[in-house]
């Protein structure tokens, strides 16, 4: 431990005793604001039954209070804000991605199991053409709610309200001549009054064990019966008319004969998404093609933009050359323009029919829709985007090579090409290797160039997933998850994300070893 560190250590905790009252008040107000906001958030989470979010909010709030009200843990006071965001928007999503990759989450399986059961049962409600009908008289309960006086087809008298049906005796009904005045103390509405409250009446559902009774007209109600019922004890859905039982299997209620009920629900399906990549050739072949192209794209982009950048750096690396600064300020422009704009501009320039490149050079090349030309275009544009950076980096690296090395080589009789191969290049490689690896990792997931130029297309024929000729893994993931067409497949997209994690982790591990980042942790 150095002298400095000892001094800092001894002085810890710092003298918070001298903190000014104003600062203290400000701090307390901030904490009170955070707590107030957290209370509001937790209230909502509790009301909505979001236990996970509730626990997370509670933990974060307790951590904030603990850290900022204590006089100790000074480092944490500075680390907590950034860390909370990192946990929430990177660490948690990483874990969540892994979880989703083991589920069938996607079109057809978007709902939770409870939501799906509710939806299935609710959707099975139908009014039977020959179902029971009731003659009704709407009643005002006196407390703002409504109920129905109902006469069944067999002549029995019933009172129906939100809680259900109850039988009535003839003595419960007060009549004025033919007209019903009140039932069981509730005032009967005439047609005019009833029509004014039509919306309320149509919303009124009287539950019965054989289905639901709903108002059809102001004078009639009918039974709507459920076709399905949920049996909570066995976790089965039963078709009431046929008695068929549907059991939950991989996110769908499925009968023994293989009939499925839609919608399904999201469920953990194990390594299915990973298996799909290997077992189904209509998915596997395009996937392997995307994977291979991803590597080729990143390698070509880095190697070629490096070659061009180095070539330019060597061209300008000549003492006495005029205009170097001028060239540099021009070459930096492609690097400075936001890359999403550049990609879109290139898309327009490479357009087959209208693009200026075909017109200016009198070509008829299908730059963006022929598979190989599209790949060529994506790499070309990526070189255009990347070579200024490589040029700047190479210039810096060249200048850091001691000139006496070159002079010594020259005196020893090395030719220009020997000097480059034996002196310049090895030295450059040492300094540039970490940057090249970082650049490879960046281009491996270079979404903007590919997606904004070709959208991943042109499509590969005969593929079951939306894989295109220029798709790299990250654009492929995006299309699986968010591009309509064949539906959203979050589970499969997440599985591919996890595979990208491994590739990126491998690249990073190599680069860590090379840059020896661990040694800089003084």
């Amino acid at each position: 431990m150095t002298q400095d560190e000892v001094m800092v250590r001894r002085r810890r905790p710092p003298r918070t005793g001298t903190i000014r009252a104003g600062a203290l008040v400000r701090k307390l107000v901030l904490i009170a604001l955070v707590n107030g906001f957290a209370m509001f958030a937790m209230q909502r989470e509790l009301a909505l039954g979001e236990t996970g979010a509730l626990v997370a909010t509670l933990a974060a709030t307790l951590a904030i209070n603990g850290v900022y009200l204590s006089r100790r843990v000074v480092p944490l006071k500075y680390l907590v804000p950034g860390t909370i965001f990192m946990l929430l928007f990177i660490v948690y999503p990483v874990a969540y991605t892994v979880y989703i990759s083991f589920t069938n989450y996607g079109t057809g399986n978007l709902l939770t199991k409870d939501q799906a059961i509710e939806r299935l049962v609710a959707n099975s409600l139908s009014t039977d053409a020959d179902g029971a009908r009731f003659a009704i008289t709407p009643l005002d309960d006196g407390d703002g709610t409504m109920s129905l006086f109902m006469i069944a087809e067999d002549g029995s008298l019933l009172l129906g309200d939100e809680s259900g049906l109850s039988p009535l005796a003839g003595s419960d009904i007060t009549r004025d001549g033919n007209r019903v005045v009140s039932v069981d103390g509730r005032r009967a509405l005439n047609l005019g009054q009833a029509s004014q409250r039509q919306d309320e009446l149509l919303d009124l559902v009287v539950p019965a064990d054989f289905g639901e009774i709903r108002v059809q007209t102001l004078k009639q109600a009918t039974v709507a019966a459920f076709g399905l019922s949920y049996d909570a004890a066995s976790d089965e859905i039963v078709d009431i008319s046929t008695g068929t039982r549907y059991r939950p299997r991989e996110g769908r209620y499925t009968s023994d004969t293989g009939e499925v009920l839609t919608p399904g629900f999201r469920a953990v399906v194990g390594p299915d998404n990973y298996n799909r990549v290997w077992s189904n050739s209509a998915i596997r072949d395009p996937f392997i093609r995307v994977f291979a192209w991803n590597f080729a794209f990143a390698l070509l982009s880095v190697a070629l933009s490096m070659a061009l950048g180095l070539g330019i750096a060597l061209t300008l690396h000549r003492s006495g050359l005029k205009g170097v600064k001028f060239y540099r300020s021009l070459l930096i422009i492609p690097y400075a323009v936001p890359s999403f704009l550049s990609a879109l501009v290139w898309q327009g320039m490479l357009n087959r029919n209208f693009g200026i490149i075909n017109r200016m050079f009198h070509l008829d090349i299908n730059w963006l829709l022929d598979p190989w030309w599209a790949r060529f275009s994506v790499v070309l544009v990526n070189i255009w985007l990347g070579f200024p950076y490589m040029f700047l980096v190479c210039t810096g690296a060249l200048q850091s090579i001691p000139s006496d090395l070159m002079e010594a080589a020259q005196i020893d009789g090395a030719s220009a090409s020997q000097r480059f191969r034996k002196v310049t290049w090895p030295l450059l490689l040492i300094t540039l290797a970490p940057l090249l690896i970082a650049s490879f990792a960046f281009n491996f997931n270079n979404f903007n160039t590919v997606f904004l130029l070709t959208g991943g297309g042109p499509p590969v024929p005969g593929s079951q997933t939306p894989a295109g000729a220029t798709d790299i893994l990250i654009t492929y993931t995006f299309r699986l998850a968010f591009e309509g067409g064949r539906g959203q497949d979050f589970g499969f997209a997440a599985a591919i994300s996890v595979m990208i994690f491994f590739v990126v982790a491998t690249i990073s591990a190599i680069s860590f070893r090379r840059t020896k980042a661990f040694e800089n942790l003084a």
Partner: protein, 298 residues
């Protein structure tokens, strides 16, 4: 310097053939390179001032200069270009400032304090950095959908939600960069402040941050440019055309209709690129020296 020229002095008037062998070809190569580098830029500038018409009618040198495309872009009711521009500035600006601040806080702790888990924390930041938010789009989309169910104000379809997501990447390479800079600020400065009775917060706020202003500015501007370029999450999380930043807005605008909207698109591209390029020219000095420092390491 390169040792290509062993003669102790250069003749003032070189013979043309020798001049070409030594210097001339370099200018020829650079002319070709500059043409390649600037071709799209020239195309866009020219297209934006071309008379109104489709992409087919564009000539590299416009037959006449007009502002029709600019008027068409800003006058189109269905294309809220100014909204997009403002959204880009607000979203990227707020995210960049917040991230710089969060990162500076952490860098101060890592630079000035010794505590258990410090080394682990620095490594964790590097590790987490491996997962850029783009890779997490599926999880973040579904998560924001859930959050929107509880708090609509920050959920799916809100700019606030997008900014919060961008803030997830606050701790990263930038924290290392700032820690490195803070390390070069002499300890004696904060120690004398502490002896004078300043709190650690006052030391950070009044002494370290002002000294680090140039680095903070560079980090903030780089963060701004990164956010301006971000397409994936903005397109996934935002729904309303009036909420889009330029990246999503201009893409949707031109992707439908390259043939007809090329001119107005070029005008929009130019208007959007100019501020960033100007910003970049300010940054150039820092970026070049930063890159060189990185390249010269080891």
């Amino acid at each position: 310097m390169s040792g290509h020229d062993p003669t102790p002095y250069r003749a003032k008037r070189m013979k043309p053939a020798r001049w070409f062998r030594e210097f001339g070809w370099r200018h020829l190569v650079m002319a070709a390179v500059v043409a390649f580098a600037l071709f799209p830029v020239i195309v866009v500038i020219s297209a934006s001032f071309n008379p109104r018409g489709g992409i087919q009618s564009q000539k590299l040198i416009p037959s006449s200069l007009t502002l029709d495309n600019y008027r068409a872009l800003t006058g189109d009711k269905n294309v809220p270009f100014y909204h997009w521009m403002r959204n880009t500035v607000v979203i990227s600006g707020v995210a960049a400032l917040a991230n710089t601040f969060l990162s500076a806080l952490a860098a101060y702790a890592f630079s000035r304090m010794r505590f258990r888990g410090r080394r682990g924390g620095l490594l964790a930041i590097l590790l987490v950095q491996m997962f850029p938010i783009t890779l997490l789009m599926v999880a973040i989309f579904l998560m924001m959908q859930n959050i929107g169910g509880i708090f609509p104000a920050v959920g799916l379809g809100t700019q606030m939600g997008l900014i919060l997501v961008y803030m997830g990447g606050a701790l990263g390479v930038n924290t290392w960069l700032m820690k490195g800079f803070f390390d070069t600020v002499p300890r004696s400065l904060d120690e004398s402040a502490l002896i004078d009775g300043a709190t650690h917060w006052q030391t950070f706020w009044r002494i370290i941050l002002p000294l680090a202003a140039p680095v903070l500015a560079v980090v903030a501007m780089l963060g701004f440019i990164t956010a301006v370029n971000e397409y994936v999450l903005a397109s996934v999380l935002l729904r309303d055309v009036n909420d889009f930043p330029l990246s999503v807005g201009l893409f949707r605008f031109i992707d439908n209709d390259f043939g007809a909207e090329w001119g107005p698109f070029a005008a929009g591209a130019l208007l959007s690129a100019v501020p960033v390029v100007v910003l970049f020219q300010f940054l150039q000095r820092f970026i070049v020296s930063g890159l060189t420092a990185g390249a010269a390491k080891e």
